[in-house]
Symmetry: C2
Amino acid sequence: MIKEIKGGICAVDGVKAFGIKEGKKGLAIIAAKGNAAGVYTKNKVIAAPNIVTKDKLETNGGYLEAVIVNSGNANAFTGEDGLKDANEMANTLAEKLGVDSKYIAVASTGVIGRKLHIDIIKEQINTVLPNLSSSEKANEETMKAIMTTDLVPKGFAVEAETALGVFRVGGITKGSGMIEPNMGTMLAFIYTDAEVKSDILKTALKEATSKTFNRIVVDGDTSTNDICLLTATGKSGVVIHSYENTIYTEFQNALEAVMKELAKMIAKDGEGATKLIECTVTGAYTEEDAAIAAKSIVRSPLVKTAIYGNDPNWGRIVAAAGYSGADFDQACISLVVADGCNQVSLVDKGKLTKNDETTLANLKKVMSAETIYIEMDLGTDGKKAATAWGCDLTYDYVKINADYTT
Amino acid sequence: MIKEIKGGICAVDGVKAFGIKEGKKGLAIIAAKGNAAGVYTKNKVIAAPNIVTKDKLETNGGYLEAVIVNSGNANAFTGEDGLKDANEMANTLAEKLGVDSKYIAVASTGVIGRKLHIDIIKEQINTVLPNLSSSEKANEETMKAIMTTDLVPKGFAVEAETALGVFRVGGITKGSGMIEPNMGTMLAFIYTDAEVKSDILKTALKEATSKTFNRIVVDGDTSTNDICLLTATGKSGVVIHSYENTIYTEFQNALEAVMKELAKMIAKDGEGATKLIECTVTGAYTEEDAAIAAKSIVRSPLVKTAIYGNDPNWGRIVAAAGYSGADFDQACISLVVADGCNQVSLVDKGKLTKNDETTLANLKKVMSAETIYIEMDLGTDGKKAATAWGCDLTYDYVKINADYTT
C-alpha cells in the first residue's frame, strides 16, 4: 500500500538537505549516501554539470554521497571553463564534507552561455553546509533554492507498506517551461531509503522516467540541463536485489507515484499556464504509439490555445493525434473531453456524436475547469495505453519569454 | 534566366480562373488542361477532398482539366458523407464543363468536423463559372476566394528563358497557421505552360516541396487538408521529357523559385506574426540533418517568443539545434544572426565571440528587423545546407487561436 507523506526528500531516512536563494542565484546541497542512478538530457548541447555527473556515475560504481545544485546559471555551452567550474563546485563540497569528489554529483539551471560565478557558489556552500538537516523546513528551503521561473516549490513523498517492511520514496523538482530566460530546465532529485543495487536503480529510474517526466510537455523545447538523480540510502532495511520479486514491483510503483506527481506539478506550473491538461490515449497498437499520440495532443499549440480560451474546437485534438505518427484508422477513434465530474463525448468509433450547439456548450463548460481530461481511444486491436500531461498556452507564456530582458 | 512576372497562375498560358468569397465561404475554380501531380498531407486524419483528389490522380493517368476549391469548411473528419460531398463538388463542375469528372480535382479548407453545405457550393459554382478568365483580376479574386485567416492574398509567377524557349510557372497559395478555427491548412495550386510528363511532374513537385513548403513552420501543427497540385498545360511549346537534360534543371529551378516565394509568404503571414525568420544551417553531414536543425530552430517557441520581444537570448537557438536530432558536436558550431544589412557573430567554432553588453545590444537591434536571418554552421565534415522559414510567436497568435469563437 502506498500513501502520501509530508517532508519531500527529507522524509527519506538518510537524507539531509538545505538551500538558499539570493536574488536569482540559488544553491542547494543534498547529502545522502547510497547507490545512485541518473537520467540526463538528450540534447546535443549538453551542459557541463551533466557531463561531469554522468561521467562520475558511469565510473564510480553508481554511488553518491551528495549532490550540489545551483540555480541562476545553467553552466551550459561554456566549453572547457564550464567543465572546470562544475568540477570545482564538486571538489569544494567534497573537501568540506571530507569525502571523495567522485561521489559528488553536480547540477545547474539558469541562463545558458555565461560563465559561472564560482566565487559566489563557494561562499554559498559555506552558508548552506552548517544548516543541512532532515526537517520539513530544510526540504522547503532546498526546493526553493533550485527554482527559477517556477511559481511554486515542488516536492512529493510516499510511504510504501510491504510484506518485507516499510520504505519511503521522496523527490523534489524544478521546471516551468524551458525557462530563465534560456531554457533553464528540469531538475529532479529522488531519494529512497530502500536498499537497491545501482543497476536495478538505473532500470527502475529509466522505466519511471519514460512514464512520467518524459510524458510532460510545456512548450516542446528540450533543455541542455535536464537531469534526474535517484539515490537509495538503504536505511529502511527493505532490500531490493532482483527484478523477480514482488518487492521490485512495489518499489517501481512507489517511484512512479512520486515522479508522476512531480511531473504533473511541472506541467501545472508551466510558464503562463492556467490549466493542467491530462491526456490519456487507449486502444493503441503499442504503448509508444499511445504515448506519442498523447504527447502530440498536449504539445499542439492549437489545442493549448483552444483550452486556454475555452474554445470548443475539438477537431484540433483529432488532427494532433493524426500527425503524431501513431498508427490508427480515423474511422475507429473515439474522443471524450472531461473535467473530472462531467464528460462530453464528441466522437464514437469514427462517427461524430450529436454535435449540436448543446454539445459544444457542454464542451466549453468542461474546458473551463482547472484540469482538463482528454480521453482518446484509437480503436485498434492493440489495447495499449499511455497518459501525458501539459498545460494551456497563454498570453503570459509569450510575455514571460518575449519580455524577459526588456 | 528566371524573372518574376505579374499575374500569378493566370500568367500561365492555358489557365483560366475565378473565385468569390461570401462571408467566410469562398469558392474558386481553376480550369487548365494538362498533366498533373499532387502532394498531400501526411496526417492520418486526411480530409475527404484530399482522398478523392489523390485517388483520381493515381488512377486517371495523372491528368487534370480543372480544380474546384472551397474555403470555410475543411470537409475533414466527415466520414462517408464527406466523400460523397467532395465527389458531388467535382461531379457538378464536370457536368457544367462537359468533361469527365475523373479529371476534376477538389480541395477544401476551413472548419473541421462539420458537414459541407453542398447547396451553397452549387450556387457558387454557377456564379464563378461564367467569370473564368486569364486576367490579373481573375487571379486576384481566385487568391482571395481560398483565403481563411490569411491577411494577404498569396501568388507568385516567374518566366524562364531557356535555350529551348520561354516557359512560365505560376502559383497561388493560402495558409497562415493551422487556422480557421480548426487547422484550415495550406493549399497550393501551381501551373506551368511547359509540357511535362506526369511522372516527371511528380518527381519535380516532390523535390521542390521538400525544399519549400516542407521547410516552413508557423506553429508545428500539421493539418488534415494540406494539398499542393501542379499542372502543366504545355502551351509554351517547351517540352520536358527526361530528367537528363538541362531543361529539367531549369524547370526545377523555376518551380522551386515560385514555391519558395509562396512558402515565405505563408511564413510571413503566420497567425499573429510580426516578423519573418529565415534560418540557414550549413556544414551538416546531410541535407536532412541541416533541414531538421533549421526547422527545429524556427519551430522553437522560445526562439519565436524571443524574436518577438527582441530578447537577445541566442542560447535558445543553440539548444533548439541541439535537440533537433541533427548530428553535430557543440564544440564545432558557429552562429550568426543578421538583419540583411548588419550581422552579429555570437559563436565561432564552439567558442563564444566577445559576448559583452555591446554584442547583446547589437543583437537586439538586428532582432528588431522585419526579417531575421539565423545562420548556423554545424562545422561537420559534411558540407550540406538547408534553409527553413518561420515567424515569431506573439500575443496575437494566442488571441487568434484562443478567442476565435468567444
